[in-house]
Assembly symmetry: C2
Homo-oligomer: 392 residues x 2
């Protein structure tokens, strides 16, 4: 086990009707805030009105900025920064999923910084302060509500790059599973893929003696695997929505990577897919993860056997560990398919000609501090091989 430092300062306020507590929760931090969101869905379904009523009851002044899209853009972040500066807003309340929260985090960091905010995303500078950010979560997936991550896409050149710093962890997250009942099927299952990917990326590590976090990763994965299929048939099943929602946070608040170093190669490869073709991140991960695994398993067959046996209940073939490992990967792929996720680039609907794949490979290595992948360090030829395995 490696040395580590960990906390979860984000106060999780979880359960039915918790959105009504938002005014009180904000009032300890600010009296003038920016509400940041995506589409008008939250206005049509009454959530926005409920939130502003709760804020106003506490005497909190608010302004709004909607329009966040999946793979949130630097342009809108800059707009948010300007609004906060001009109107002395000193708190950002995100209502939405990972894209809205990431956009809010970027605004929070940008308001208190004088330089070029893109510096933080390409590792040129490290953010050391931010306005407080909090969220009302409506899409369980990215885990951004309690994470140190923030991923933004720069329109000029379509680069998608992250910040990973503790300072940007939100101060609270309001999580009512009922708010996720109306998520369309594809957003629900893309979220599931994202959650599972966050755990799997942490699971595949070169660090030895990490039994406790192994077991926790396996446990959270199993809870997701048991509950996700329920949501396909019963989108308003509170119990299953609650399990998935809480899993989304725990998958990415770094608890599951205490003492270990995750891989993150699949995420980095997927970022190129979604940056160039604007596909949903979760769907992209469902395609890349099995391909990455097929390419990577020989690097540590025993670890893939453990994954197969403990997570996917594969009967271990003690005389054929490779077959056991591959069976685990197949079961994961079948599981993704069974809940309606794409598992090939073709199903994802993006071009698979070699020239297009070469373009993604090239781009994956541009404007990046450090390499791709920790468990398995990838060069251009490796990324290409993984993408080729993902074609069909």
């Amino acid at each position: 086990m490696n040395n580590f430092e960990w906390s979860n300062p984000t106060n999780i306020i979880f359960g039915k009707d918790t959105e009504k507590q938002v005014g009180q929760a904000v009032s300890g931090y600010s009296k003038s805030i920016l509400i940041h969101y995506g589409s008008d869905r939250i206005k049509k379904n009454g959530l926005f009105d409920k939130v502003t009523a709760s804020l106003e009851a506490e005497g909190i002044r608010w302004m709004e900025l909607g329009g966040v899209k999946p793979n949130p853009r630097l342009g809108l972040v800059k707009e948010g920064i300007e609004i906060c500066r001009k109107n002395n807003l000193d708190f950002i309340l995100a209502i939405g999923g990972g894209s809205v929260i990431d956009s809010s985090k970027a605004i929070g960091v940008g308001v208190v910084d004088d330089g070029d905010i893109w510096d933080f995303f390409i590792g040129k500078r490290i953010p050391v302060k931010t306005l407080p950010v909090a969220s009302i979560l409506t899409i369980p997936a990215a885990g951004s509500e309690a994470s140190k991550s923030c991923v933004i896409t720069k329109e000029e050149g379509w680069y998608k790059r992250p910040i990973n710093e503790n300072v940007i962890k939100p101060v609270f997250a309001i999580m009512n599973p009922e708010l996720t009942y109306t998520l369309p099927h594809n957003q629900t299952v893309n979220g599931v893929a994202d959650i599972m990917a966050h755990i799997i990326e942490r699971y595949f590590t070169s660090v030895k003696n990490v039994d406790l976090t192994d077991r926790m990763c396996e446990g959270v994965l199993k809870a997701v695997i048991d509950n996700a299929p329920i949501l396909v048939d019963e989108p308003d099943n509170y119990a299953a929505r609650a399990e998935i929602m809480w899993a989304s946070t725990l998958a990415h608040n770094d608890l599951l990577s205490t003492g270990r170093i995750g891989d993150w190669g699949s995420h980095q490869i997927e970022h190129e897919l979604s940056a160039i073709y604007d596909v949903a991140h979760g769907a992209g991960l469902a395609v890349i993860l099995p391909a990455w695994m097929k390419y990577a398993y020989k690097h540590d067959v025993k670890l893939f056997v453990k994954f197969a046996v403990r997570v996917w209940n594969v009967d271990e073939r003690f005389d054929d560990p490779e077959r056991t490992a591959l069976e685990g990967i197949e079961r994961m792929k079948s599981f993704f398919s069974s809940i309606g996720l794409p598992v090939t680039l073709q199903e994802l609907g993006i071009p698979t000609e070699e020239a297009k794949i070469d373009e993604m490979v090239k781009k994956a290595f541009e404007e990046r501090a450090g390499g791709i992948g920790n468990f398995l360090s990838l060069k251009e030829k490796d990324v290409k091989a993984i993408l080729m395995l993902a074609v069909e």
Copy 2:
């Protein structure tokens, strides 16, 4: 799943040599602190000198108060409060295990309160503020380093009662597994029992649809079960010490009880044993838990079957769930014995005459707000039956 609120504000600084970071960690909070500890062991082994050197390098003035005993006493707490007040110390650094940290928490709460501090322990008043408290952990067991719990024994009448409030969570915990190499065997295994009890008390719940926390409880238990026996033979095995140490925190920082209500009957019964006979808390739990389980399993046989199958790898007898459940309890008891824990009151060396048992039963219900046990609500006759099951 129930509604819940959760955070882990305590910054965990985990790994080799981390005690050298203490000066820097304290300096953000205070320049005048009380160092609180138990025996002189930390002076003989050099830890105290290392700590004070690190503090002095940051210009931090310190005073000391040693002498904390297992089942920490109210008398010493009051002494600590006086020292802090007289010398304007505004931060408590605990060096030790749960007893020292609990004593420090009580001092922290007491310094900023004008009333009778015992009020907080019998539920008469609720603490709303404290001096910041932090620890350098030397005994992984109680989980007090990141918990909202604090248990103190009042000498007059030997009452042992708790505070459970978020406000008393420590600000940081320095956890170097190497500092636990020299723990004697009995302290090591008592710690293991305490850790397992914290998880098991949370596991047995009447709340339904708590798959995720079920799985995490099972996972942490399995990691403890796999690593504890290593420490019996190899007390200086870093990997196993690290797993147990991190498990001790996660067992009791309330992550594993998010959305569920634990039982805590065994803890409350054990508190009478250790208050009256001053036995080690962990050893007492190893005796009470199996007895409680034998008494409680019929209340929800399926849950005990799950515990047997998932935690203890019992082959499920689908036609005889009771036998499966009982086999799980037996395996736990055998496991405790195998690492050298007592599993009967006789092995614990305390009197088992009926009159003595009646005395414990009576005391368990005195000076207490609320009943005993949530999964299974216990009356006097139930507690007596459990203690009788624990005799031999």
